[in-house]
Subunit: 302 residues, 2 copies
């Protein structure tokens, strides 16, 4: 086990409306979803920013889960990032209703000294300038993974392209892959992204599963079959947490192990969407995770 | 090999517009796509109706492919069924621009005597009353497979429900599965359809692959990764042809073999969409098919 995974991203409170109901002021943010998910596989060091309103019990819970919160900086002059979104029209895509960046607007990640020796780094969806800044602080990373979003592809493409040259694995969704490359076909899009830097690309397709390209190899898997999606918020970061957490735990980034990591990501995301917020990530067990990976394998094997 | 597969469905000429181009007056129809696809696996007996304008060379080509055209009835008082559709807005779903049923409007399938002993029957998408009528003519079918469409689910639901009680396997697309059951979740939809009769349900999801439920079992597979879709027309019937052709050839409808049959269907459909009309189905080989099944297996295996 490398035991050596740093994640940098957002910490938030979400207000979410889905066909099942409404959840207000629930814990959210890319770095938090990622940490809880990856925490089932490895020790996670979390870097993020919170406001004066962030309850201490959330921090205690993170610690209880084995997550190192030393990099979680509290700004006493503002509130925590808040996001309000709705899945009423489409369970596959959130409609953002409100975004209040609050303290996240001036987020300037500064990694604690013992975070800087991390071997595995996950740069969650934040401004690519900040993602680059994080990389400058990590001394000898072994495997760098990033996410991004439509906003940065749109307004910070050049910085993003600079970042991608340093990335080993990018995990993004189908719409982002198409937007980044201009390719409508996802395989072509993934192949184009490889030419921008990352040897390995994972395209998440929501309920339709994920596509992995690694050098000349290709792997496709359906999503874990879920009968009732309650809240898709954080599914992508939970997927990344399962995938990168597993890679860090096994310290093996071969194609064979990347495929297994995709299955773990798929399974972690499936648990997450079955309940509001990250409720389902609090009480999983190795047994539940392994059983579902086994079930997924049965569902995709001849 | 049961060598004993009858298909009843449409024979048509299509006018298709796709982002790649326009193809006019090309051979189409569910029974024809199915026959060419299934013909790579087993002897196919085709039942359909053509008009006075149907060129003899198309019949010769069907025969050359080993397809028994004895059930292809020529009506000299009308034209062959014509369909005009466009995929310009969405490669996943045809927009029907024109339908001229012509001789297909009074299609009244009457199976030749030696077709009536068929063990495998594929009822392509025609009026469920006609599908029932075909079943009355088949003496001791071993495995009955059907397709349907939104129109029949809408206006002939009761007849369709009567038919489904006699069906072993239904192959339909995601929209049809949702419409038939009112379930938005495809697994729930497939499970609901099982309760209507068919022990086995295959839900086709276009570029996102297919879902198979058989008794309590479940299998999901992505589509074969295609870099350029030229014309999706007939993909569903080509899938069905590969799947049912393989089942008929192997004379084995166990869950294990149904899964393999889904892969053959997936691969046959992938060849079909790479070219206009059924151009790609004319010159395949066992080797090409097996190689692609092998490649698909590699892409979905750990």
């Amino acid at each position: 086990m490398s035991n050596n995974l740093v994640v940098v991203g957002s910490v938030a409170f979400d207000h979410v409306e889905t066909p099942v109901g409404i959840r207000e002021e629930s814990l959210g943010g890319s770095a938090v979803y990622f940490s809880y998910s990856a925490g089932y596989f490895t020790k996670v060091k979390l870097v993020g920013v919170i406001g004066d309103d962030f309850p201490q019990h959330h921090i205690e819970q993170l610690k209880k889960h084995g997550i190192d919160t030393k990099g979680l900086v509290r700004k006493t002059n503002g509130k925590t990032f808040r996001w309000r979104g709705s899945y009423l029209g489409n369970l596959n895509e959130a409609k953002t209703l409100e975004t209040h960046l609050n303290v996240f607007e001036t987020f300037d990640p500064d990694l604690p000294e013992d975070f800087r020796t991390a071997e595995f780094v996950f740069l969650a969806n934040i401004d690519p300038e900040l993602q680059l800044k994080v990389l400058e602080q990590v001394r000898s990373p072994k495997y760098i993974v990033c996410d991004t979003m439509n906003l940065w592809i749109d307004i910070k493409r050049n910085v993003l392209l600079k970042l991608l040259k340093k990335i080993d694995l990018i995990i993004l969704n189908d719409a982002e892959a198409k937007q980044l490359t201009g390719e409508l076909n996802l395989i072509k899009a993934a192949r184009s992204i490889q030419k921008l830097g990352p040897k390995t690309v994972v395209v998440k397709k929501g309920e339709h599963g994920a596509l992995l390209v690694n050098e000349n190899n290709l792997f496709v898997t359906p999503a874990f079959p879920i009968e009732k999606v309650v809240d898709p918020t954080g599914a992508g970061d939970t997927f990344a947490g399962g995938m990168v957490g597993y890679l860090s735990k096994t310290n093996d980034t071969s194609f064979k192990n990347l495929k297994k990591a995709v299955l773990y990501g798929t399974v972690m995301a499936s648990f997450n969407v079955e309940n509001f917020s990250m409720d389902n990530l609090f009480n999983l067990s190795q047994e539940k995770i392994e059983n579902r990976v086994k079930e997924l394998l049965e569902n995709i094997s001849l």
